[in-house]
């Protein structure tokens, strides 16, 4: 059984489709990252799974329960950290977490220790008795995700969990997310931060204009880009042209550019397989390799490849 499964899931606001016929699955105990620019439908999908929004048509199941017909049961097994932490202006972080833990049924005996640990780990301990309205943006965001870490649900949903958070805070949140997965939770993270997706994801779903464009592991997504890897070579050879020709004939070569007397830039698919073939060719051609530098595509390039648009451009738009 999938932890999450949607079929022809559609959400429409007037004439605008936020989600269109979305088919999407998450395996048990998996971290699935939804990658897409603002307006791609990430948050809408999360809110439908959390039973906060109702789908216009299609269905969505969480742990085998339909979100439309069993919303209360679905809410009992999931926890969600929203994109923006708002609305508790006159409450204190410790009180907010205590309330959340109580309502979500966290055992009383564990509660205080758990809250203290999470507050300390996310560096909110000093701010635990401040009013919410006096927290900084980063602190408020950390408090928002802290709710999920205190709850430790079977299915956790995190909407841009590290936006507004500094690098140190990001690493702490990522570590908590990985710990949650180790304990058996299934996790769905929506983000438009490539680095976050690469760090956390078991699989990535690229969402664009309400549709799933592609879904796979980060490695396979990168490998699926033809010519996605770049290998920069510095080779001492007597015949540049002959070597360039030989390299261009290798399996996996997309393009070879001679960028200097003995410098080559090769655009290849799956550099890890191409490089041994290249060294073999150089050996047979009596060419001496002076240096090799391999760079791989980022998820930005993956997004560009599958949607024809750059993730960063659409996010900033």
């Amino acid at each position: 059984m999938f932890a999450v499964e949607t079929n022809t899931l559609t959400k429409r606001y007037g004439k605008t489709y936020a989600l269109k016929d979305l088919a999407f699955t998450i395996d048990q105990n998996e971290i699935m990252v939804l990658l897409g620019p603002n307006g791609s439908g990430k948050t809408t999908l999360l809110l439908i799974l959390a039973t906060v929004l109702k789908p216009t048509s299609g269905n969505a199941n969480v742990m085998g329960l339909d979100v439309s017909t069993h919303p209360t049961k679905v809410r009992q097994i999931l926890g969600i950290a929203f994109q923006e932490a708002r609305g508790f202006w006159r409450h204190k972080p410790a009180d907010i977490l205590r309330f959340h833990a109580n309502v979500c049924g966290v055992p009383k005996a564990k509660q205080e220790a758990l809250i203290e640990n999470i507050l300390k780990d996310l560096e909110l301990w000093e701010a635990r008795n401040k009013l919410f309205m006096h927290l900084s943006g980063g602190q408020a965001k950390r408090l928002e995700v802290a709710k999920v870490f205190v709850q430790r649900p079977r299915f956790a949903i995190l909407d841009e969990p590290t936006s507004q958070v500094d690098l140190r805070g990001k690493r702490k949140i990522w570590a908590q997310i990985l710990r949650l997965r180790e304990e058996g939770s299934t996790i769905l993270v929506a983000t438009n931060e490539v680095r976050e997706a690469e760090y956390l994801a078991d699989r990535v779903t690229v969402l664009d204009e309400g549709k799933s464009v592609v879904c796979d592991t980060v490695r396979k997504l990168k490998d699926s880009i033809t010519g996605g890897d770049i290998v920069e070579l510095e080779i001492d050879t007597a015949d540049n042209q002959a070597l360039e020709h030989a390299l261009s004939q290798l399996e996996g070569t997309v393009k070879i550019a001679n960028s200097g007397s003995n410098r080559f830039k090769a655009y290849v698919s799956m550099a890890e397989s191409w490089v041994p073939r290249m060294t073999d060719t150089c050996y047979r051609s009596k060419a001496r390799i002076l240096s090799i530098r391999v760079t791989e595509p980022s998820l930005d390039d993956v997004f560009l490849h599958f949607t024809g648009r750059a993730l960063r451009e659409t996010t900033n738009a």
């Binding site: 906060v52 929004l53 999931l78 309502v103």
Partner: protein
């Protein structure tokens, strides 16, 4: 049910630290009754000791304000981004609605504690039975008004400004065209017909009947009981229906 109580307490606690708004409301009430009520009762001759009538009217107005506040609270939850959180909690929609309504009732009880006691003292009817009967009637009226305002809050869900405008206009009409401040029999015919549609007319006349005011200047209490019962059942039923079928947290693309 435990979650409903937790919800009420969680929301109420910050309001009581310190309870400035309650004390302000009490102060306004005392000034109204002690200054305005005393002066105006000397000018009003058609009714015996108008201050007593006026004090009950003020209690009804506080009840109306607090019940309207419940609806506004709900719209604010939506606009401050708190509603999605509440909707994602493992509580059924009807319990969430119940919690919001009971929170309004609790705030109403706190707000009315002093004004109702003072009013009963002025009237000279501070007995256990009159206190219980008044509280029940006021809660009943409060539930009906809160249900009405929650229903309105769905109409004005997209804009808290629109909600405020509707409620301000409506409260002006509902309070002015009612027997909150003037006895029914003294109202001009056109005013009286409008007052017959105000729920506050029935709430205030029923409270006055319970407190032993002259029945000749009040509406028939049987009508009042029927209207309040119909109001609270229909508006609360409508509210539960709307929250279960229509409420969504935010509209995000």
């Amino acid at each position: 049910m435990r979650n409903v109580i937790r919800f009420i307490w969680f929301d109420l606690k910050p309001e009581l630290r310190p309870p400035v708004w309650i004390i302000m409301e009490w102060t306004v009430f005392l000034v109204q009754v002690g200054v305005y009520g005393v002066i105006i009762s000397q000018l009003v001759t058609g009714i015996n000791d108008y201050r007593r009538f006026f004090a009950v009217g003020l209690v009804i107005m506080i009840t109306f304000d607090m019940a309207s506040h419940t609806g506004r609270h709900f719209v604010e939850h939506a606009h401050e981004g708190r509603l999605p959180y509440l909707l994602s909690l493992p509580i059924s929609r009807s319990k969430l609605f119940l919690a919001i309504a009971l929170q309004g009732a609790t705030e109403l009880a706190l707000m009315l504690a002093l004004p109702l006691t003072v009013t009963l003292l002025i009237i000279g009817n501070l007995s256990l039975i009159s206190v219980i009967a008044c509280i029940l009637t006021l809660f009943w009226l409060g539930f009906g008004i809160a249900g009405l305002m929650l229903g309105l809050s769905f109409i004005a869900f997209k804009s808290s400004d629109l909600y405020t405008a509707i409620v301000t206009g409506l409260s002006t009409i509902i309070i002015r065209f009612s027997t909150v401040l003037y006895p029914f029999i003294f109202l001009p015919a056109q005013y009286a017909s409008a007052a017959a549609f105000s729920p506050l007319t029935y709430g205030s006349d029923l409270v006055r009947f319970i407190l032993g005011f002259d029945p000749a200047v009040l509406l028939n209490p049987v009508y009042a009981v029927c209207v309040l019962a119909a109001l609270s059942a229909s508006t609360l039923g409508l509210g539960v229906f709307l929250i279960q079928r229509l409420v969504e947290g935010v509209k995000s693309a």
